[in-house]
């Protein structure tokens, strides 16, 4: 990636003593598509608003192109925002909404007032209408547009000012699934074509993985992990990230040696190293990394408790020694059948224990047998006499 454009340095934000952002350190590169991902209340929108200038951090600094911009008001920043509910001006038509920023008369670097000619405004508005596929809509009233069209107007209105950074606050939240997928591709295309930085806020992990160069996973006002979509998915840093991004079975394990982790008293080969000997760890196994094999060939053996057809695959919930796993497989295994599973070393991901340990990654609630609360620490020998093939 190219040079750094925005840096948040130790940013903390508190409202009435309640901390919503807790020491955020983040840098954003030029021309990057960066997504702030997290559940509601995690601080992602606050982070965006700090960059947009709508909020000033309680402590910490914001830098833009190396210049501290904490006190710079929104209308003097080279960023534009696409708001969650679009915030289009209801008293203006599509053309005037998009032209709004152009008509304000900006001051250039030399401090001189620059007013665009009607002709230039017309040309740039038409250009943007082309970019967002809304040619012919310029005279329409905002109330006559569908949600998807309003969305496009909001994007055009922000982009027409040629900002260095476009901030998008859950811009697709109000659209239906099909339209959302279309707009994801559209946004990605626009970002590539305009060659500017996009900072995108969403709680939708699929959206984040599909669109971003960099994903920032946030929870409880803290950054949990920063990385490429592949990193975030394959190498989650803690149980929160593993659970929030995709589906995960998260198990208690003990690191017996470099490349050897013990789960359910059985040793498994893995690719992770650098842990203390006998360190308790969280082990993530993605549902699609589990192979179902005949019972006697399995490393672990369990009973199928529920099967849900999902189109491409079956969501199969399997009870292993009281802990319920989600396995995504194209093989149909009927409920109550006994199966074995195999996991390749690269399907096992070991994480350090964190305060999120034990909170996620158990699929008991998928099962109809709700009263049978799973317990990972159960002694497998009680239930299962013959163990799997130990490594």
């Amino acid at each position: 990636m190219s040079k750094e454009l925005i840096r948040l340095s130790n940013c903390t934000m508190a409202f009435d003593g309640e901390v919503v952002l807790d020491g955020i350190n983040l840098y954003i590169n030029d021309k990057e598509f960066l997504t702030l991902l997290g559940p509601s209340g995690c601080g992602k929108t606050t982070t965006l608003r700090i960059i947009g200038g709508f909020q000033t951090p309680t402590s910490g600094d914001v830098f833009f192109d190396g210049v501290r911009i904490n006190a710079v008001p929104p209308h003097k920043r080279a960023v534009n925002t696409v708001f969650q509910k679009y915030a289009l001006f209801p008293h203006l038509n599509v053309y005037e909404n998009i032209a709004f920023g152009l008509r304000l008369g900006k001051t250039d670097e030399k401090g001189k007032k620059v007013k665009l000619s009607e002709q230039e405004i017309h040309q740039r508005v038409m250009e943007m209408l082309e970019v967002v596929n809304l040619r012919g809509f310029e005279k329409r009233h905002i109330s006559q547009l569908s949600g998807g069209q309003q969305q496009r107007v909001a994007i055009a209105r922000a982009l027409v000012n040629r900002p260095k950074v476009l901030l998008l606050d859950e811009p697709l939240g109000a659209l239906d699934l099909k339209l959302r997928k279309d707009m994801q591709n559209e946004l990605k295309r626009i970002q590539k074509a305009m060659e500017i930085t996009f900072i995108y806020v969403t709680h939708d992990q699929e959206e984040a993985l599909a669109m971003s160069d960099t994903v920032v996973v946030m929870d409880a006002g803290k950054i949990q992990q920063i990385g490429t979509p592949e990193d975030i998915y394959n190498e989650p840093k803690n149980a929160f990230v593993a659970d929030f991004i995709g589906e995960s079975n998260i198990l208690d394990g003990i690191m017996r040696d470099d490349g050897v982790v013990e789960i359910f008293n059985r040793k498994f080969k893995c690719l992770d190293s650098g842990f203390e000997k006998d360190e308790p760890v969280d082990v993530v196994i993605r549902p699609e990394d589990v192979d179902i094999v005949p019972e006697n060939e399995g490393q672990l053996k369990g009973t199928v408790t529920s099967v849900t057809f999902k189109g491409v695959h079956y969501d199969t919930i399997v009870d292993f020694y009281g802990f319920k796993w989600l396995i995504q497989t194209t093989d149909f295994c009927p409920v109550d059948s006994r199966i074995g599973i195999k996991i390749d070393p690269d399907g096992i991901h070991v994480m350090k224990k964190s305060h999120y340990s034990g909170m996620f990654g158990d699929y008991s609630s998928y099962s109809e047998e709700y009263e049978e609360i799973s317990d990972a620490s159960i002694d497998p020998e009680e239930e299962e006499q013959e163990g799997g093939n130990e490594e």
Binding site: G52, F54, P73, P74, H75, K76, V79, N80, T81, F83, Q84, K85, A87, L88, F89, P90, H91, F100, G101, L104, K106, H141, I142, S143, R157, A158, N161
Partner: protein, 295 residues
């Protein structure tokens, strides 16, 4: 009726028919007839009973028409100039200021309208409270010494200014409240969007807040202008005989010495039509914004 509970509105519909629609029909009927004509009911053809005589006689009162609309217009403009900034500040300030301002605006309305206006008479009289106060602080002495005049009071009552003051005092809340309620409901993200696009505070106001508050301005203007143009109490108490307005003229035709309800009805009808035309034109003007608020 499509709706099953629509009959619940029957009492109100009946009430409206009796006290609004019926009187208007009567006014229209009276406006096109005269006492002489009606006395000959049945003796002359019905088409000759209906006449435009009343309207033809109205030319005499052009001055009063002009004065009424002029004073109402001035009062409306003053209300707008005072009321808009107040409404804007109220909507922008915290709830504490809002509550206090609201109480101060509503407080006078808990006192009867006539009593309030009588109070102004006491204040503005030639030997009233205000002039006594000026006397006490030696203002007249000072002025007389500087300009060599022989002033003992300011003539405030029985002037057009006093009438406008009475209108503004009584109807200002009707300007403030609708504007306030529109501004307070403005979507805050619109203001953020404007700032985000590069608008400074003045531009945010001029390009977003003001156009979006126009529906409130329109209803405020209506609610001040209409009662101002037809008032007769304010003009009689604060304007005296030489500031007669349409309201006084009509009152005279019905209750006063000039008793002629037929002419009175015609004047009332013409005034009503002028007001309706004004309102239609204004609402047409603000139609786009009306839609905007519906959003």
């Amino acid at each position: 009726m499509k709706n099953k509970i629509a009959w619940l509105s029957a009492p109100y519909v009946l009430w409206m028919a009796l006290v609004v629609v019926a009187p208007i029909i009567m006014v229209v009927f009276y406006a096109f007839t005269t006492a002489e004509g009606l006395a000959q009911w049945g003796e002359i053809p019905i088409t000759e009973i209906f006449t435009l005589d009343n309207f033809a006689r109205m030319g005499t009162y052009t001055v009063i028409f002009a004065r009424s609309f002029q004073l109402a217009l001035v009062a409306t403009i003053v209300c707008l100039l005072l009321g808009y900034p107040l409404a804007y500040v109220m909507a922008k300030e915290g709830p504490g200021f809002q509550r206090m301002a609201m109480v101060l605006i509503m407080l006078p309305m808990w006192v009867n309208f006539l009593l309030r206006t009588y109070a102004w008479m006491a204040i503005l009289e030639n030997n009233g409270i205000l002039n006594n106060f000026f006397e006490a602080i030696g203002l007249f002495d000072l002025i007389n010494r500087i300009f060599g005049t022989d002033l003992t009071y300011f003539r405030m009552i029985r002037t057009q200014g006093a009438v406008v003051l009475g209108m503004v005092y009584n109807y200002l809340p009707f300007m403030v409240l609708p504007i306030y309620s529109v501004i307070i409901k403005l979507d805050h993200s619109l203001l953020e969007a404007a700032r985000d696009l590069g608008a400074n505070s003045a531009q945010v106001f001029r390009k977003v807040i003001f156009p979006l508050s126009l529906p409130g301005v329109l209803s405020g203007v209506t609610m001040v202008f209409v009662p101002s143009v037809s008032t007769f109490a304010i003009s009689r108490m604060l304007g005296g005989n030489n500031q007669m307005l349409l309201g006084n003229l009509i009152e005279q035709q019905f209750l006063g010495g000039a008793y002629n309800p037929y002419l009175g009805s015609a004047i009332a009808l013409v005034m009503m039509i002028i007001v309706i035309v004004c309102m239609v034109v204004m609402n047409h003007f603000g139609e786009g914004e009306e839609q905007a608020v519906m959003l």
